[in-house]
Subunit: 244 residues, 2 copies
């Protein structure tokens, strides 16, 4: 058995996230179907993370074990031949049997993109969240700093999921403005259910003046989900990179 690591990109618009589900189309299902079609037998894939329905990924990582004689680097071409147009394998490589895409991930980078202005987006609307109200970006930048470091993110976690601890370390939380786009870039050692989307939603509350930057500190300390903002929609979120 060979352990194959895949780096894939997908447009999450038409998927109920990564993880295989009954009665919903997921990226994992499409990928596992492609593996079965090309190798002739089923291999379960291990994903670096679940992603929510509608979330995109530029470089998602997963691995699977196979007896197939297809050389590891060729899986890229072979799988791309049968995958749908919204999923692509960027790289396929053989890795040590001990490699596990989820357990060995040491961090992830996400970018959340907002578009501002007087017009709802049309071209590229699948990848941005339209936010019409004026935002005080300087205040948002001040607020971002409170997320840095080690915190209990219970206030920024949707109920559900089965993680033991809500403590996570955020090493980067930056906001950049590119024309009408505002990008929130966050790197952490791991993220709870809906965590990035609730973080951004809370930062938007700072941006519109409902919260002050330092409120982030108190919301974190409260560990109370009701204190933070609403999650922003999935479509603006993209998993940029998984670190090992």
């Amino acid at each position: 058995m060979k352990n194959i690591k895949l780096t894939i990109q997908y447009d999450g618009t038409n998927y109920s996230g990564w993880q295989r589900q009954k009665n919903a189309v997921t990226v994992q299902e499409k990928l596992e179907n492609a593996i079965r079609e090309t190798t002739g037998s089923f291999s379960a894939t291990i994903g670096s993370s679940r992603t929510d329905a509608g979330v995109h990924a530029k470089e998602f990582v997963c691995n699977f074990f196979t007896d197939s004689k297809i050389p590891a680097p060729n899986f890229k071409m072979v799988l791309n031949g049968v995958l749908p147009e919204d999923i692509v394998v960027l790289k396929s490589e053989r890795v040590d049997d001990s490699f596990h895409a989820r357990f060995q991930s040491i961090g992830k980078k996400y970018i959340y993109t907002i578009i501002t202005g007087n017009n709802r987006p049309v071209i590229g609307r699948q990848y941005v969240y339209y936010f019409r109200r004026k935002l005080d970006v300087e205040k948002i930048k001040m607020a971002c700093k409170y997320f840095l470091g080690i915190h209990d993110f219970s206030a920024f976690k949707k109920k559900g999921g089965s993680v033991r601890s809500s403590v996570r370390t955020i090493s980067e939380m930056e906001v950049t403005v590119e024309g009408k786009l505002i990008k929130f870039s966050v790197i952490g050692d791991g993220f709870l259910y809906n965590m990035v989307r609730i973080m951004v939603g809370t930062l938007l509350e700072v941006g519109v003046g409902r919260f002050q930057p330092e409120d982030i500190k108190y919301i974190l300390e409260s560990k109370d989900r009701t204190k933070a903002g609403k999650p922003v929609p999935a479509l603006g979120l993209c998993l940029e990179k998984v670190f090992y």
Copy 2:
């Protein structure tokens, strides 16, 4: 009767172009439906151009006459309330009765976008044409110059359409590289059926070495459609602006 000018943006992915057709969904149909829904009566719209199936538009212009009491600037909001998510009105304004979106247009700007590299695009694939072969961009730039000025573009016109003359003036034809993207920007006083797509397709033949830059000159002079390259796919083309 008031003459209303609309500037609209649309994602052409799901449309058979601008112009109303039997048995095909078009942007014009969707817009005219929205106008009827909001004013209570049908108004024929006059578009600045037909666009091919699958072509996008950042700023398409059209006009229509109406007896509606809706103030001209409010049509933007009113129509956006009923238009599908892939069409948006950017601006609505009252214009002189003599304004005609097609006849009075003095020029148009199109951008055609190619993506290169080893991987077919996934995120944003709806807006770019994936071209895998290596391109000599310097040669393409040299070739572009031959399009500038007044020429008979018969060699760059798909059969069909009913225009009297194939003479057009190109005032800009530029190529820029932005990472993996190569953008072809062209401004002309008007364009024939498939003209931009055949121009870009022919420039790609220069880029891969099948044609030399100066061949553009001879192909133009030949007025022979069979001498030029194939049209590139519609999805990479976007009408950027209409000039009046």
